[in-house]
Subunit: 127 residues, 2 copies
C-alpha cells in the first residue's frame, strides 16, 4: 500500500503493522487520542490525535506525527515551529484505544510558547 | 440545577462552573479526553472521558470521576476496585479540549492489575 496521504480524510488503510491495526480501537472519526509525555521528566506535554498512518509514521520515522483535526492533514510536530518530538517509546493502553508516546521535546510543546499545553489553565490546585 | 445523573446520556447541562463550561470544547459525543497522571512520580496512569458533570464532580468531590463510554454511566474511579484516584490538580489544555488530572492513585490504575494502562502493550522502545 502507498503511504501517500489522502488529504482531508484520516485513513485506516495504511502501512501500519496489520497486527497493530487489527487490535486498534478507533473512535467514530477513525482517530485515537495520543498523549505525548517528556520521557525523562514525566511532563505531560500535549494530547494529539492519530489515525493508523500517523501511528505508523510515529513508529517508523522517529518523529511524532499526528492527524490535525482542525487542518485535516498529517502534522509532523515541529516541522513548522522547530519544536520537534523525538520518539523514545510508543505504547497502547489496555483497551487499545489510546496511545502514549514518550518523546524528547525540543523547546515548547505548546503553540503559545508554554512548555506544556496544560500550564496556563489550571482549574483546581489542591494542597 | 440538579446533579442527579441522567443514565445513558452524557450531559452538558450540569453544575459545572459556567465560566469553565463556556470554554470547554467537547467532541461530537459531548466528551473530552481526561489524562490521569500520578502527581509525584509523573506516571501516565490512564485516559478516561469526561462530560461536564464528570468534570464538575472531579473538581468538587476530590475523587476522579469519568463518563464510562462502555457502560454509559458515571464512573467514580475505585468505587468497585478500591483503586481510587484522589485529585491533586486539574488543568485544561490550551484548546480547552483535553483535561489533565494529577491524582494520587491507590494501587493499580488498570483493571488488569497493572500499575498503569500503558504497561503491557509497548509497540516501540528505542535506545
Amino acid at each position: 500500500m502507498s503511504s501517500t496521504p489522502q488529504p482531508g480524510t484520516p485513513r485506516t488503510a495504511s502501512d501500519l503493522d496489520p497486527a497493530i491495526a487489527a487490535r486498534l480501537k478507533r473512535g467514530a472519526d477513525g482517530l485515537v487520542p495520543a498523549v505525548a509525555q517528556q520521557y525523562d521528566t514525566g511532563e505531560v506535554l500535549m494530547l494529539g490525535w492519530m489515525d493508523d498512518e500517523a501511528l505508523h509514521r510515529t513508529l517508523t520515522t522517529g518523529r511524532c506525527t499526528y492527524w490535525s483535526r482542525s487542518r485535516q492533514e498529517y502534522w509532523v510536530k515541529g516541522d513548522t515551529s522547530g519544536h520537534i518530538q523525538l520518539v523514545k517509546s510508543v505504547a497502547l493502553d489496555c483497551d487499545a484505544d489510546t496511545v502514549l508516546v514518550k518523546v524528547d521535546q525540543t523547546g515548547a510543546a505548546c503553540h503559545t510558547g508554554d512548555r506544556t499545553c496544560f500550564d496556563a489553565d489550571v482549574l483546581f490546585l489542591g494542597q
